[in-house]
Amino acid sequence: MRRLILGHTTEFTLLAVMVVLCIGLSFGTDRFLTISNAFDVLNVSAVNIIFAVGLLVVLISGGIDISFAVAASVVQYVTALALGALGGGNWAEGFIIAGAVGIGLGLINAALVYRLHIISIVATISTFNIFFGLLMFFTKGVSIYDLPEWLTTRVVFFEHEMADGSWVELTLPVVVMILCCFATWFMISRTTIGRQLYAFGDNPEGARRFGINIGAMHYISFGWLGLMAGIAGLMQAHYAEEVVPNALYGRELDVLAATVLGGARLGGGKGSVIGCVLGVLMVSITQNGLNLMGVSPFAFKMIVGAIILIAITLSSARIDKLLPFLAKSNAKRGSSHS
């Protein structure tokens, strides 16, 4: 247990903070600590969590991607048009088209990074502009509202009316999110490819000399994020019941902040699915709690921003460096013990 906690400091710190936050909020409002509210939070954060686990894989492999949210918008649009051309389609076709287009866009990023040696932040900022510019140019910013019937109908796997009249609903985005989390967890911690991704992210040159296929690592990580972005795009279209070309614009930075809050390291080699999920949930829970407490919606982002800022600063700060006198007294105590 001790080893488990020491090995996952960020995740446990985050969990502890979340528990404290939840206890505080449940005293603040009586609506917060109900099962139906917990499911509401899950429903709202499903899309972001799918994005986040995809981004996690790229971060672990030492890259960064700015373009995935815009890529998801492209996927939404292409899928909607393709389904229209197919004369309706169904869920299986929707997932296949969205996944394939997403992977394709991810592979473009991978090729730029690997083949042309453009560092990932520069490459993905460029593709961000290309994807978004072309999407807005070709669609002229027009949204699609007449989506196929099956896509916009809410799919509920489980529902139950609670004693107080509120509903507990397990909807499709949440189920897909759980599957995506499980798949990502399985890939990064139970397969050779996953171990290679960690090794590559931690030390690319070392990994290369060790015989790891560097090209494959790039294509797998960006391809995985592309797949997740495609699925997330489809889920967002399903959830919002419309396709708006700039709906996901700007989402990338929010997801990046939440992912890193969950312990993924920029620079690679570190991060876990559970931390990533906790990071996104932390932000959603804060917003949900503020909402229930009746705080003005305009203040949400400010408070969330402040929390992320404090959390990131504290998690990176080494207390002994911030407060040298504390470290000294600790060192003295340490030496007197030994």
Binding site: I64, I66, L112, L116, H117, I118, I119, I121, V122, A123, I125, S126, T127, F128, N129, I130, F131, F132, G133, L134, L135, M136, F137, G250, L253, D254, L256, A257, V260, L266, G267, S296, F298, A299, F300, K301, M302, I303, V304, G305, A306, I308, L309, I312, T313, L314, S315, S316, A317, K321, L322
Partner: protein, 331 residues
């Protein structure tokens, strides 16, 4: 040919090659494709559009040179603009005096500087990755701005500030002159001042810089404060140009500023780069969008082409450097 290349490198520096070739390419292609491209109208529009993006790019430049990044530039500019707007509003709005405007500018600079200082202190003292600190700062500042303005815009300023956004002196647009002055200051800072040298050293190797006796924390804090001050200048120019302040104005410039800086030969890992190639790169980007505008395409296509241009330039750099490396091996 080789002699010309060497002469060029000696005069302008090797990092000028990319932007210069891109500049020539854009001029030739649009000069041939659109018959009214090379005209004073085009250059007028470029001259008026350049400063907003340009000033924000300058704000992005110094952190990039230290190996960091400042993702909060656009919202720092918005908030600084807000500060200026409020000072003017509280001194009578449309009837505010020039003194009130000056006070507003000072308030803007103070706001920008304070935001920058906070960011810089967080980065310098906690050693958190600049992307994270400035990203969360960005989310915070955006939220703060939206909270304070309730998502609306603040307008109603005295008429004498309009020339700062639209006026000209001797045929030169005033915002362009302000921008060129800021380019000059940054150029001086990087080439003639200890701070400029120090920040480049930090970008190359922060540990080595610290062991060489540079006060890296102080330099980092100064860099982000200067970046915040430059955002404030951009915020005031934007206020004068739009005659209103809204949180979210210029939001789309954020990633373009990074693109412009890298296009101008700034090393993505920091430590190397100059101001003038970035200036040329900015002109290229603006010419590209004006040219496309003339040909009837919209800004979105220009955005996409900015991305393509960036990839082409970066790819060309890789190919040229591997070519040179292979030549050296043979020789």
């Amino acid at each position: 040919m080789k002699a010309i290349a060497q002469k060029f490198n000696a005069t302008f520096g090797a990092d000028m090659t990319g932007p210069a070739i891109a500049f020539l390419a854009v001029m030739v292609i649009f000069g041939l494709a659109a018959n009214n491209f090379i005209s004073s109208a085009t250059f007028g529009s470029v001259a008026f559009q350049l400063p907003e993006l340009g000033l924000l790019t300058l704000a992005m430049l110094l952190p990039l040179l230290t190996g960091g990044i400042n993702l909060s530039v656009t919202f720092t500019a918005n908030l600084s603009g807000l500060a200026a707007a409020w000072v003017m509003q509280s001194y009578g709005g449309v009837d505010a005096s020039p003194a009130a405007f000056l006070l507003g500018v000072l308030a803007a600079l103070a706001t920008g500087g304070a935001a920058g200082l906070m960011t810089g202190a967080a980065i310098a003292y906690t050693r958190a990755h600049p992307i994270l600190v400035t990203l969360s700062m960005m989310i915070f500042l955006r939220g703060l701005g939206e909270f304070l303005t309730r998502g609306g815009d603040v307008s109603g300023f005295p008429s004498f500030i309009a020339p700062i956004g639209h006026g000209s002196i001797f045929g030169f647009p005033i915002p362009l002159l302000i921008f060129i002055a800021c380019v000059g200051i940054w150029q001086l800072l990087l080439t003639r001042f200890k701070l400029g040298f120090g920040l480049l050293m930090i970008g190359s190797n922060i540990e080595a810089a610290r062991y060489s006796g540079l006060n890296t924390r102080r330099i980092l804090m100064l860099v982000y404060t200067l970046s915040g001050l430059m955002c404030a200048v951009a915020g005031v120019i934007m206020l004068a140009r739009f005659n209103s302040v809204r949180v979210g104005h210029g939001e789309s410039y954020l990633l373009i500023t990074v693109l412009a800086a890298f296009l101008g030969g700034i090393d993505p890992f920091g430590g190397f780069g100059r101001v003038l190639p970035v200036f040329v790169a900015l002109i290229v980007l603006q010419l590209l969008s004006s040219g496309l505008n003339l040909m009837g395409a919209n800004q979105h296509l220009a955005t996409a082409l900015w991305g393509v241009l960036m990839i082409v330039v970066m790819a060309a750099r890789t190919i040229v450097s591997t070519y040179i490396a292979s030549r050296r091996k043979k020789g």
